[in-house]
């Protein structure tokens, strides 16, 4: 196909094609056509020459940039590792592992003495811990047992709702199932019940592009890799639940580098280029204003499915509130910032990092009532950017009649009552 510059707007030629031509990224036909256009247009030719000159200077500067090559010792070590192939490498790795942990005595020493001392220390620690636990249980009121829930991923331990309620500034409450009123069943529902229906989520297509690249097994706080044919168990929500986030107002901590904020709530969860929002490095947030307070049951978020390249977002926190400053009825529904590295005043999270898939991540919203929902993140396992494809929040308008649900006063009263009864 012959390139016809007369059919292409001048701006597009200037803005997009010249750098691509210089970078050698145009097809032969496109390049030939553009060169014809350059020859026929003096202004375009001047622009081209200037950009070419700038890239030539850049290339020259980068070529002469100082570098420090590998040392001879390093090169020898690499070649030695290759000498005997994989077996040799295994031996090297084994040697490296052994260097990280040293026995207090060498081969000629008495290892059994060292092992005996280790075993004795462990036994002493266990006995001491049990004694302290007994002492503690005798002097403290017994904890309120929270209902055991099954997560959407089939785990028996709730993903982030357990633990000590850790109020932030203002009225923030870390949601704990133990704080829920007796009349409220856990909403993390994996079994059908009356009035509830399976949550229908339209999944995007599964991507299979990219060169396979797995997340390191040493990655901290990382969930187990799920089998390829894994499907999330059915999640049940009250009848009439809809995606209340669709086309709502989105704000962010910064201007996106690529994409529009509205793409997050356009209902399209595909991870193709046109549908990905790219925020810069560091801690960033996006906030959805639902327009009015809603009762929320499930939140599903798709950051970015990168096909064969495994990727997990870091420091993902989902919080809700009734005001845009997140001070009134402030709840944290999900938090995998296990080391507090987000450093924005949240407590350390107990949820795990998860690998992005086309299924997205489902967070149980525990029927919390909120108007604003904020999503924090802090780069990912591949780079330091935050990507967003889609957020769906499944909820309902708050009914006029009062139904049992989470509200701070009810939880506090219920908790106090339970503590009183337990004592």
């Amino acid at each position: 196909m012959t390139y016809d510059p007369s059919n292409t707007p001048r701006d597009e030629l200037l803005e997009l094609k010249l750098p691509a031509l210089i970078a050698g990224e145009l097809s032969e036909a496109e390049a030939a056509g553009l060169r014809m256009a350059i020859n026929a247009d003096e202004a375009l030719a001047a622009e081209y020459e200037e950009l070419l000159s700038a890239t030539s200077l850049l290339g020259m500067a980068l070529k002469h940039e100082p570098t420090q090559p590998l040392t001879n010792t390093q090169i020898e070590a690499i070649l030695k590792a290759a000498e005997t192939g994989e077996e040799r490498l295994d031996a090297l790795e084994s040697a490296a592992r052994s260097r990280t942990f040293h026995f207090p005595c060498g081969d000629g020493g008495r290892k059994w003495q060292w092992w005996l001392s280790v075993a004795a220390s462990i036994v002493v620690c266990i006995v001491a811990a049990q004694f302290l636990m007994m002492l503690g249980s005798a002097t403290r009121p017994k904890p309120i047992p929270g209902p055991v829930a099954t997560t959407p991923d089939g785990e028996q331990t709730p993903e982030g709702y357990h633990g000590t309620p850790a109020p932030l500034e203002g009225d923030t409450i870390w949601i704990d199932p133990g704080m829920m009123p007796d009349t409220t069943e856990p909403h993390l529902a994996s079994a059908p019940r009356e009035g509830y229906v399976p949550l229908e989520i339209k999944l995007p297509s599964r991507r299979s592009d990219g060169t396979p690249c797995l997340i390191s097994r040493n990655e901290p706080n990382m969930e187990e890799r799920k089998p390829r044919d894994y499907r999330r168990p059915q999640f049940y929500v009250p009848k009439g639940t809809i995606n209340v986030a669709l086309t709502t107002t989105v704000t962010a901590s910064e201007e996106p580098m690529i994409g529009e904020l509205s793409q997050i709530v356009d209902g399209i969860a595909e991870s193709d280029d046109e549908n990905i929002l790219d925020l810069d490095s560091g801690p960033v947030w996006v906030t959805l204003d639902l327009g009015k307070s809603c009762e929320l049951f499930a939140i599903v978020m798709w950051h970015r499915d990168r096909g064969e390249v495994e990727i997990a977002m870091r420091d993902v926190i989902v919080e809700t509130a009734d005001d845009k400053d997140f001070t009134i009825n402030h709840y944290i529904l999900f938090n995998n910032d296990h080391d507090g590295s987000l450093n924005k005043g949240h407590p350390k999270g107990t949820d795990q990092q998860y690998i992005e898939t086309h299924e997205g991540k489902l967070v149980d919203a525990l029927a919390v009532k909120a108007r604003y929902v904020r999503f924090w993140s802090n780069g990912n396992t591949v780079d330091d950017c935050t990507y967003w494809s889609e957020i769906k929040i499944f909820g309902k308008d708050i009914p006029t009649s009062t139904t049992p649900g989470l509200n701070p006063l009810a939880m506090i009263v219920s908790r106090a009552l339970r503590a009183h009864l337990a004592s």
């Binding site: 803005e15 997009l16 750098p19 691509a20 210089i22 970078a23 990224e25 001047a46 020459e49 200037e50 950009l51 070419l52 000159s53 700038a54 890239t55 030539s56 200077l57 850049l58 290339g59 020259m60 500067a61 980068l62 070529k63 002469h64 940039e65 100082p66 570098t67 420090q68 090559p69 590998l70 040392t71 090169i75 070590a77 690499i78 070649l79 590792a81 290759a82 192939g85 994989e86 490498l89 090297l92 060169t211 690249c213 390191s216 580098m257 690529i258 280029d273 790219d278 810069d280 490095s281 560091g282 990168r306 390249v309 590295s341 802090n378 990912n380 591949v382 780079d383 330091d384 950017c385």
Partner: protein
């Protein structure tokens, strides 16, 4: 000796000869430390030995850069930041060059690199991968995680910004370098 082992060895030799210097420079940009950068590149080379599957012949360079970047980021995460560092001030002139020419080249190189350092991190990185490592948009996309069209956008924006910064210096001329 198996054909596979021969191929691995040939690939390793090629990687060392053709790419190790640029990789060290790239890693140094990410890490800010020459010694650390060399260690990272050594790790990358050693990882190539048992790599499974072995990168295809045409994909070796992008494989090396991707693994290098991931390894560097693993280290950077300990500090929870990623910052493409400013360029070092000294240049590596051609030994055959006269002292005066070497000084002039050094000034020009330093000036251009200083301007490059004023660009945003992601633009600097893709410009380096394009014009230093000579990778294609698609390869850069695989390494950095950006889409191909985003890489094109970043390079396009970066080149034009650099051109704007170079204009007042008089280094730019029509038809090439002054």
């Amino acid at each position: 000796m198996s054909e596979q082992t021969d191929r691995r060895r040939a690939m390793l030799t090629k990687a060392l000869e053709e790419h190790s210097d640029v990789l060290v420079g790239y890693a140094r940009k990410l890490l800010g430390d020459w010694d650390l950068a060399r260690d990272v590149v050594q790790d990358v080379m050693v990882k190539l030995i048992p790599a499974e599957p072995l990168p295809a012949d045409g994909a070796l360079k992008s494989w090396l850069f991707r693994v290098c970047r991931n390894r560097a980021i693993d280290i950077i995460r300990k500090e929870r930041r990623m910052n493409f560092l400013e360029s070092p001030g000294e240049t590596t002139p051609d030994p055959a060059m006269s002292p005066a020419a070497a000084v002039e080249l050094g000034d020009t190189v330093s000036g251009v690199l200083a301007m490059l350092d004023t660009l945003p991190t992601n633009q600097r990185e893709v410009l380096r991968l394009k014009f230093q490592a000579e990778l294609s948009y698609r390869e850069i996309a695989e390494i950095t995680g950006h889409s191909v069209s985003n890489v094109g956008f970043l390079i396009h924006t970066g080149i034009r910004k650099l051109r704007d910064k170079l204009r007042p210096t008089g280094l730019l001329v029509q038809g090439g370098v002054a």
